[in-house]
Symmetry: D2
Subunit: 304 residues, 4 copies
């Protein structure tokens, strides 16, 4: 951590800051410049609120040096992580994985997971389903291949901790107002429990622009690729909220380097139980797949 003192900070103010840092267990190195004094603080504390120092008299700014996540950082596994779903799908490898399907299971609620599992097994497919609460995990584990954490639960630490104790792959969606760093911190939280099978998902952030439901932050894909070893996929259906914008944003995501896509498709979107407006018709989806097959090689990939 680096503490930058204000221009003209008084000696006793500087000394007070040093004392506080030492009391917190840091080793402090003082560097006195022409205009500013800068304190370097080295230590092991991670449960530390930088504002506690920032508010001391004479302090201008506190800069954390250590990245707040370790397990999720690219440095931890420079070659990148491949997450295996079931026995056949690998996310983060050379293939770009396209997950398609309806948003909700449209049948008897209690039996939904079971039916989904049976349908998947019969057709050689895999099941990803959203988990809302730690209490649902045990129930869901036998039926799903991947557990999804929705955008609203990205910082639900009870849920993240419980998922860290399983070995099931987790699809972690970025919160609508979460920074990329906060997304990686949530991934770190799951990983610190022992579950490294985390796939990140960009699904749009809230901005002042209202033409689309959210602003799909495509740049998050290359940014995350550099900062982290975890696979990153995109959800253009929720990211735009409108069927006619899904294909362009799906193509853009693959062109930007996404490891996969989450796309809502429905055999009859106009009568879908939910979010029909953002579901592709089957023939639109088929055409999109053709386009993606042409784009993937430009980034050294192929469509899975």
């Amino acid at each position: 951590m680096v503490v930058v003192m204000q221009e003209g900070a008084l000696d006793h103010q500087i000394q007070h800051v040093i004392d506080r840092l030492v009391a917190m267990g840091f080793n402090v190195h003082r560097s006195t410049g022409e205009t500013h004094t800068v304190l370097g603080a080295v230590g092991v504390r991670t449960d530390f609120d930088p504002r506690d120092i920032e508010l001391l008299d004479g302090v201008r700014e506190v800069v954390r040096i250590t990245q707040p996540y370790k397990l999720a950082s690219r440095h931890f596994r420079p070659e990148g992580t491949v997450v295996e779903i079931g026995k056949g799908v690998r996310i983060g490898g050379q293939e770009v994985v396209v997950a398609a399907g309806p948003c909700a299971v449209e049948s008897s609620d209690e039996q939904g997971l079971k039916f989904m599992r049976q349908a998947a097994d019969k057709n050689g497919l895999y099941v990803v389903s959203e988990v809302m609460d730690p209490s649902q995990i045990t129930l869901m584990l036998p039926y799903v291949d991947m557990l999804q954490v929705g955008a609203r639960n990205m910082q639900n630490y009870h849920l993240l901790r419980a998922l860290g104790e399983t070995h099931k792959p987790v699809l972690l969606k970025r919160g609508m107002s979460a920074t990329i760093e906060e997304l990686l911190l949530s991934a770190e939280y799951i990983m610190s429990g022992g579950n490294y099978n985390v796939v990140l998902c960009e699904r749009g952030i809230r901005t002042f622009e209202t033409s689309t439901r959210n602003t799909l932050d495509i740049a998050a894909i290359p940014v995350i690729k550099k900062l982290s070893h975890l696979p990153i996929i995109a959800d253009p259906s929720h990211g735009t909220g409108r069927r006619d914008k899904v294909a362009p944003m799906a193509r853009a995501s693959v062109a930007a380097g996404a490891d996969g896509l989450l796309i809502e498709v429905h055999n009859d979107p106009e009568h879908a139980l939910s979010d029909g407006a953002q579901s592709l018709f089957a023939d639109q989806f088929a055409q999109l797949m053709n386009e993606l097959r042409m784009i993937a090689p430009a980034v050294g990939r192929r469509i899975g």
Copy 2:
């Protein structure tokens, strides 16, 4: 315009609103529902501030029906507009146009435009340069093929009006905090002066995310394609501010349907006069062009 009255609005409140609308020159149609009264107002006024009605007692909401732009709307020219630059480049046609070069002319200021013109003519290139002030237009016209309006000037109406009186193609950049509708309104402003040669440019908006300098709103590309007939290009250099993010976002833009790209390239970015950090090295640019050539056919285009 539709005026929605509050639930329980009183009769004399409704009558006052009707009177005001009539006094403003609107024809009013009253529709009384079970819970709400809704007033439809038809008229020719365009210089109208809907808040004047919204603030009247008993009014809940005023909804404008007429799109605030006409010349820039897709309906005005459903087949789309192709803007010709010089004698050879067509933006908005089947070819995706890639404009590359340094951000600033790095030589004697006064002679800069002249040198640029000469260099362009010698090499069969075209010149686009930013205009900051109406007084510069006459000076610049002989030397440039296209006049660029920077993001900060997107709503500088003095400048837009002056550009409307020329026939020179205009590259209109989206302001950092401008909605898509506001961008189209600025285009309308230029077009209403008689100059229809307007090319729009998405270059990133300001959001809470700070990993990139701005958030390049790629979805703006298909949104604008639907709303307007004007060509839309993307500027991934300013949109990301970092060289290593330019190529992914350039590819994403083309995959999303952009009519062109504005890319900063420099033979020695580390010593560039400005914005070297977002300029590609020549070999990076060459590789990007190869990638774009593979992507363009997926959207029925080719690279120009």
Copy 3:
């Protein structure tokens, strides 16, 4: 609902929209203007996704007329709601209520609530504590006077529904990226279960400005006062995240018409378990209370 067709929409497109609306149970009124056709649709459906109509060919825009909340709207109870906490505190009345205390109970976790209850009873105070999960409600009910829904749970509908089934006052915090309308929709959700004792809380939204942790949206106070009958309080501690900004924003909130304040105070903020940096020292709090007592009469209130 009003459906605005595009300029030049074709007759069969208009007819298709009408047919869809009728099939959905709406009565449709068609109004044909010089440039636009506008359809008014009246019906009882509330579980309706306007995008389903918006995406039909020829449609430009769909405008919902009915406010999406009823119980929470000012019209439902024009005189305003007063929520009683315990037997002595009334939020929404003439007194501005200031709730002060530490953010976390700093003692044995399991016994925390019990101790808090005992301490409150002994000193004639009241207890408000955050509920994270429906399963905690039964446990907490005997010990607390008010249940708080944190910003991250504002749209946790499981939790909201469970709270609607109690009669305990609920303090509902605005989510960091939630609009005012979304906050009122969450209140509606609780109220539709039968629990009308809801107090809203503005605690800052996420914007591009990073000088403060969040941007406390003070204007939300008068906006909510007009739209809803529910009391609205402000949380300047979380809204700014810094002790030295708490007092100015607390004063501003009262001056803008807030019904109360939530302020973190700690006898030793520098050693607080959490959020010490945003906790006032006891003497700062005393001074703030003096200032608030001078401001309240300017808005016809007094400090409780």
Copy 4:
């Protein structure tokens, strides 16, 4: 400047960064920690793009230590600045100054300034008027007491430079998407030309919330008070865009410590030339003044 290298950065990468910094004229201090190497760079360069270093291999982050503004910083004049308007008004002193009037001069355009000057002189008032272009300055100087830079021109450096060469007080409005730091940088730009008579103005930023035209960032007032010695006033009329929200936000601004207010008042707002919807009626303004007179003493001020 502090350069934080990535965990595991290679020696030759570190050496390359050091070489680049030295070539740029910096003195470099290397500090090797257990996990990170940190480079401290001291030097005089201010025209420096930190991204140039950030993009070098092995670099994780570049942190600027020196505040990018000096003349505008609180340290430059710890006691605060008072800007005198004409011979009687002092902004930044003990009095809170309320500037009220119509937004536009509603009479013959060319003679507007002259009439405004005459009316002001006759009534002992002062004139503040917006300047859009450097060419207008000379013309305006004899007639106005203060030149206003509108939000859209906050970063129009041509204009700022020209204003720096006058001695006329400048009212600098914060841009709709400008950070507080950027506002202070613009003030610095004017001051570096020799004109220290700068008054800052908060007038709302663009966020996702649309209930008000902009989100008036009241916290900017105490933040600027700490960072800078310049007076800061608020514009609740443009900040909210609606008459019924002006008074609450005006009160909130004074309670938060604003040095003044800019309020639109009109004798007939419903027929105002522009922005009538955000103009107070005369009696509303009189009532607001009474309220402000009660609030000001709470912050040790009085209304001027």
